[in-house]
Every structure is written in structure tokens, then in C-alpha cells.
Amino acid sequence: MSDAALVRMTGIVKDFTGVRALDGVDFTLRPGEIHAVMGENGAGKSTLIKVLTGVHGHDAGEILLDGEPVRFSSPKAAQAAGISTVYQEVNLTDNLSVAENLLAGREPRLGPFINFRAMRRRAKELLDDIGIDLNVAAPLSSYSIAMQQLVAIARAVDIEAKVLILDEPTSSLDRDEVEVLLGVMRRLAAKGTAMVFISHFLDQVYEISDRMTVLRNGRLVGEWATADLGQNELIGHMLGREAAALEQIERAASAHRVEDEEPLLQAEGLGRKGSIAPYDLTIRRGEVVGLAGLLGSGRTETARLIAGADRADSGTLRFEGRKVGGHNPRTAAARGIAFCPENRKTEGLVGDLTVAENMILAMQASRGWARSIPVARRDKLVASFIEKLGIRPADPDMPVKNLSGGNQQKVLLARWMLIEPKLLILDEPTRGIDVGAKADIQRLVAELSADGMSVLFVSAELDEVTRLSDRIAVLRDRELISVLQDEADMTSERIVDTIVAGGRES
């Protein structure tokens, strides 16, 4: 790593109509370094990246690339100057081969025709360079999202990238896949490629990055070498609070033990072919039950059967002692079972409807279309939940699609809190949202359970599950393998051990 800056951005200002998104931000990127840009949603991370990659022009400030002032009018111009971006969603063509995707637009030619043999050879070299081994003739869709992500990176690197920007590249990857990706990043760094890394996963940021730049509300908080900045300090800088808010949630729920409470819900042999093997699970009143396991272990499937989102083809479900028949989302809601699905955009919210409309949707659905909620009552309810959950912007009439992920999640939570359910099922409620909103939601779960609501909490983040849950059901390979009960078992290590042990037995 040399001290000469590859990219130096100074005093960058970017205004959107009425809102200053970046206010005098400096950013320096050195050759061969992995530089994390940290901040909550709305801190200005993506705006900064978009200014650097030519998506947005900046209103003031200067960008130097290799000491030369530059101003990119389009992403294409930035790419030509050696700045490539890999986005969260893979922007490649599924039904073309890996080689075609890698070299699209730059195919080796033989006269007017594409030289497929040369193309495959070149593609192979590219992948070898970053240390992955794929069949380059196979269609891209035959590989996992992780591999597709790596192909996207290989493609970006081949376009003579001096600077590679990785915007949430790991958000849909599982643990092993993340390791491969981080390995590729290290290899590229060793070759001198500078990388900007944006991720919500603090562990990954600490594992891979050399330096961090922290933004808050469009301003620069500071730049640190990763080794010099502790996690709590980092979160403090991001949130603008000295103590990390996450620490304070520390098991508010554990104060009350719920073992002697009567069961609210009992699943006996509940299962669905091809989705989740039959399982037994009991949820007591006021209890937070966590569902832990790796991606694809059947966490979501388990929750969906209880929620009535999918139909079980075996077993029985008892709720408040009575056998549940004809289980579907509507009857579940009528009984007091609420379900916040994993995918907010496709299964949770109606993007075109306003914040207020999305909030009252479940309540209105239970009343039927003919009995509209009186406007005054509705406005009052909506305002109180916007206030209570700290939804920003606090505008009930804004289309919900314009909100950030964390705020959208809060709207979804408000929808179900409005009907005062007895059991709240949360599937990955904190995925892809910023640290502040995450802390808010975790605190809320603890509060709700303290008030007597039962919660089924699904999360890929073990820390979060252990922090909030009274008991944890551990899943592996679409099977519920164990339920951890003891306070001493509520650790990430214990869960990982259980998953590993569960694999050995079978």
C-alpha cells in the first residue's frame, strides 16, 4: 500500500431538490487498499459512490484520479477511466454462458464472427486470475448468486479496473460464499486494485477492510485505519451516540422467564413436503422463540407454516389450546397471528400505496371492505405509530416505496401491531437495514414480549437471535434438529455447535 492517493475527493457537495445529500465530504482511496464506507441508510454512502461513478454530478468539490482532476458525465465515462462497480443485484444475463457474460461487448473475433474458443480460453484465464473455477460454457443461471457475483467482479476487473466498487455484494450470500468473495477481494488487493466496500455486515467489514470512512447525515465523520477503530466506537460514530445502542438492548426480555406460562401455540408434526420436515414447536405467552440456521435450512418455511402463508400437509397446529383448521393468512390474523415476511418489497408492502394505507391494510382487511376505518381514527392511529416507531420521513401520505429499508420495515411492523396480535412472526426483520433501525426493531421486540406478546423471530444473524430469544429452535437441512432452552445455551457458539452436531448424526 503506498501513500499516493489513487482517488482523492475533496469537499464534495451534492444537492437534491431541497435536500443536501453530501455536505463537504472528503474521501481518499489508495492503491491496493480495501476501504469501507460506513454509515446508516441516508448517511450519503450511495450518493458518494454515485458521484464517484458518474451517476450523479456534484455541485461543489473536486475529484482527482491519479492526481488529475476528473468529472464523469456517465457511468460509462467512469468505467473508461478505470472505475468499475458491482452492485447488490447481479447485472448480468442469466441465459447466456459464463464466458459470454464475462466478455459481452468485448468478444474475441474471427473476422465478423465470434471466436468462441478464444472467448472460452480468455474467460477461463480471467476466472483463474481471481482464483475461481467454473465451467465457462455453462449458462450463468446454473450457478449460485454468489458465483454470479464473482463473475460480475471478474468482468469488472477485466475492464482494466483500477478502482472496484462493491455495493453490498454479500447481502444475499451465505457464510461460505462470503469467504470465497472475501478471498477474491484479498487477491485483487494484492495485485494493487483499490476497492470501496459497502456492507451492513460489520464482521465482514472488520475482516476485510484496511480503512474506514464514516459518514453521517451527509457529512464526513472521519477516516480511520480499521485496526484503530473498535466496533462500539464505529457504531457510535455511525449513530452519533457515544454508547452503541445495540449494547443496551442486552436481553431486556431475559428478565422474565416464561417457562411456567401456558403454551400459546403448539405445532405437532407440522410439515410440508419438499419444504420442511415435520416438526414440533411450542410457543408460550410472552416468549420470544428464535429460529436459527444457515441459509436454506428451512427457517422461513417453518415460520410460514405457522403463519398460514403456506399450507401444511401433515401434522396439527393448536392455538390457545384449540386445533386450528383452514389455516390461511386471513384466519391466522383473525386468531391473532401476524406475519412479517422476509421480503418486504415483494411480499410485505404495496409500494404505490402510502405509508398510512400500508399501515392500516391488515386492520382494514379484517374489517372487510364495507366497514372503512373512520378517517379521524385512522389518522390518529397512523400518527401514533409513526411517532412510536420513529418512522422518517414522518409523512403518512408518502408512497411507501420512497422510504428507506429500515423505515419500510417499521411500517410493516406497525401494520401488524395495529391489530394487536398474540403472536408476531418476524422473518428477517433486520435484513438490509441500517444499524439504527436495527436497534429500534430489536428494542421493540424486547418491549412487545415484555408486554406479553409472543414473538417468533427468524434471523440469519446469530448475535441477534441469541440476544433476543428465550428459546432457540435450530434448523439444518430443512429439519428442526434441536431446541435450545437453557440461558447458558443462548450463544452463537452453541448454535453453531448444534448445527454441526446435527449434521454428524444424520
Binding site: 415483494t346 404495496v350 400505496l353 391494510l361 382494514q364 382487511a365
Partner: protein, 353 residues
């Protein structure tokens, strides 16, 4: 400007432009209603409105169907069925002038068309058939059913029958079809906006899976909406038949479904479902009606009708495209100033400079 007003702005601008062209061509008489000898309102624009009523009724029903991400291609055929049932019933009766006969005929036509609409809805909601396919069945079969009802003839109602008042009569000087249209628009607006029906069907159209998981009875709502659409088409058929005094199973309401879809789109409701605008659809219908007169008034031959319609649709579609609007309005937009919402310290400094 509210998003609602924004959606309505361009259709209104187009309509005003068309009206202006007509006034320039034929004078102010185009828009000012005249009072006929028999005390009824007349004049070019009133006639346009009166003639547009069947299309309006159908387009309003279509708006609701489209809001659920659906489409109803059968409305033209249902129009013909409604007209056929009413005319045939009256013709078969002994006394065409009796109020009882006319009321029976109207009721029968409305009940049957509502049932047909509900049938479309059941095919879409319960059997999961794609709306375009489900309603295509009746689009084709419906005219056959109308032919069976009329026995292949064109039943004619005597001009003395009170049935013809539905299309030709007037109440308080205003033509009865316009009253019916106003009532239907008001009733649908109340039905969708005073109850939660509007929001729930926007939700079902905007995101069916999210709506299911929120516990909305989307099947019931879908069936209801297709039923309303069928009923609207039946009512439109009644007015059309009453105006002509006859029911033509083959040509009554021919291609009206396409004009209705057009009016919905001009009015700002997206074919992808979700948000819908009954008032926008109404303006869209009046635009289409006015356009036909405009072609004649500016001295073009009637062969221009389809081409002119296409041009208007093209212009409206362009104006509604955010990309095109941004491009055309670019030179007129001021560079946005850095306005400050909250009085943060650094921003206050900015303002002081």
C-alpha cells in the same frame, strides 16, 4: 400539486386544447349549450357528452378491473347481450308501452349482465385464469349468445315505448343518459372511496401476494369488481339500444372495449394495476368523444378518425412518460437551489454566506 392533480393535469390540458381547436373552427357555440325548441339542452358539446355515456359507463367499470391488474375484453359483447335482452323482452310483450314491461326488461338485462360479469370474476379469481384469456372467451361467445337471444334478427322497439326515453329523453332539461352517467360516476366514487374497497383493490392490484399475506379477501374483491364491470357494460347496452330503438347483436358496442381501455390509460390509470382514477377515465372518455367531432369540424374527412385517435394516444402516452417529461421540461427547470429544511448549524452558516 397533489399526485392526484398531477395525474389529471395532462388529460385536462389535452381536452382543453381539443375544445380550443373546435371553438376556433366552429365558434363559441361549440361549448355553450343551447336550449332546443322542446326545452332540452343541446349543442355540440352536450351531444358529445350524451353520445359518450355508454363508453363512459364501460370505461368506469374497466378502470376498476384494471386497478386489480386485470382487463375485461368481454364488455362489448356484454353490451350487446344487455341490449338484446331488453329489446327482445319488450318486443315479445303484448304492450310495449307499459311501464311494467320496460322495468322488467331493464331489470332482467342488468341481472344477466351482472351474472356474466361475476362469471368472469370467478374464472379469474377462483380458477386463476389470466384475465385476458378468461374475458376473451365471452368476448367471442357473448355476441353468439346475443344472437341466440334475438334469434338472429334485430329486434326493434316502438318509438312510443318509454324504453326509448333512457337514451333520448331529458329530465330537468338535461338528457337522461348524462344523468345516468353522473349517477354512476358518483356511485362508483362513493363505493370505492367512501368505503375501503378502493384501497383494498389498489392493494390487490399493486401487490397480490402482500395483500394475501395481509389477510385481504382478494378473491371476493376481484369477483365484485368484474361484476360491477359487467353491470356497467349492461347498462351501457341499455342506453345504446334505447337511443337506437333496436339491438344489433353483431355491431352493438363493437370494439368499445378498446376505446374503454384507451380512456382508462389516457386518464392516468396504469395497466399494471394499483392506483386508479375514475375522474381521469371520465376525462379520457370525453377526449375520445370530442376528438371524433374535432376531425369533422376542422374539415378533415372521417377517414382520419383512427389516425387522429392514434396521434392523441401517442401524445398522451408521451406526456405521461416520466422520461419524456423530464427531457422536454429540462430547459424550463431552474437549477434547484440548496434549500434547507431543518435549521442545522452548518446549514445556517450556508444561508448566512
Amino acid at each position: 400539486m397533489s399526485p392526484y392533480a398531477k395525474r389529471l393535469m395532462w388529460p385536462v390540458v389535452i381536452l382543453l386544447a381539443l375544445v380550443a381547436v373546435n371553438i376556433a373552427a366552429t365558434g363559441v357555440d361549440f361549448i355553450v349549450p343551447s336550449v332546443n325548441d322542446d326545452g332540452r339542452l343541446g349543442g355540440a358539446f352536450v351531444n358529445i357528452l350524451r353520445r359518450s355515456v355508454p363508453l363512459l359507463l364501460i370505461a368506469l367499470g374497466m378502470t376498476l378491473v384494471i386497478a386489480t391488474k386485470g382487463i375485461d375484453l368481454s364488455v362489448g359483447a356484454v353490451y350487446a347481450i344487455g341490449a338484446a335482452i331488453a329489446c327482445q323482452t319488450i318486443m315479445d310483450s303484448s304492450d310495449q308501452g307499459a311501464a311494467g314491461t320496460v322495468l322488467t326488461a331493464i331489470a332482467l338485462a342488468l341481472v344477466v349482465t351482472a351474472v356474466i360479469g361475476a362469471w368472469n370474476g370467478v374464472m379469474v379469481a377462483a380458477f386463476g385464469i389470466q384475465p385476458i384469456v378468461a374475458t376473451l372467451i365471452l368476448m367471442i361467445a357473448g355476441r353468439g349468445i346475443a344472437q341466440l337471444i334475438t334469434g338472429g334478427q334485430i329486434p326493434k322497439v316502438e318509438d312510443t315505448s318509454p324504453f326509448t326515453e333512457l337514451g333520448r329523453g331529458a329530465f330537468l332539461t338535461i338528457p337522461i343518459p348524462i344523468w345516468i352517467a353522473a349517477l354512476a360516476l358518483t356511485a362508483l366514487a362513493l363505493l370505492t372511496r367512501r368505503t375501503a374497497l378502493g384501497m383494498l383493490l389498489e392493494s390487490v392490484g399493486g401487490n397480490p401476494e402482500a395483500s394475501r399475506l395481509a389477510g385481504i379477501r382478494s378473491k371476493g374483491i376481484t369477483v365484485l369488481v368484474y361484476l360491477v364491470c359487467g353491470l356497467c357494460a349492461g347498462l351501457a347496452g341499455l342506453i345504446g339500444a334505447s337511443n337506437l330503438g333496436s339491438a344489433d347483436a353483431n355491431n352493438g358496442g363493437l370494439w368499445i372495449e378498446l376505446d374503454a381501455i384507451l380512456a382508462v390509460v389516457i386518464g392516468g390509470t396504469a395497466l399494471l394495476g394499483g392506483r386508479f382514477f375514475l375522474l381521469g377515465t371520465t376525462i379520457g372518455v370525453v377526449i375520445i368523444g370530442t376528438l371524433e367531432d374535432t376531425i369533422i369540424n376542422v374539415g378533415l374527412s372521417s377517414q382520419w378518425q383512427f389516425t387522429a385517435k392514434a396521434i392523441v394516444v401517442f401524445v398522451v402516452a408521451l406526456l405521461q412518460s416520466p422520461g419524456f417529461r423530464a427531457w422536454i421540461l429540462k430547459p424550463f427547470k431552474r437549477t434547484p437551489q440548496a434549500r434547507v429544511e431543518a435549521p442545522a448549524p452548518a446549514k445556517a452558516e450556508e444561508a448566512a454566506k
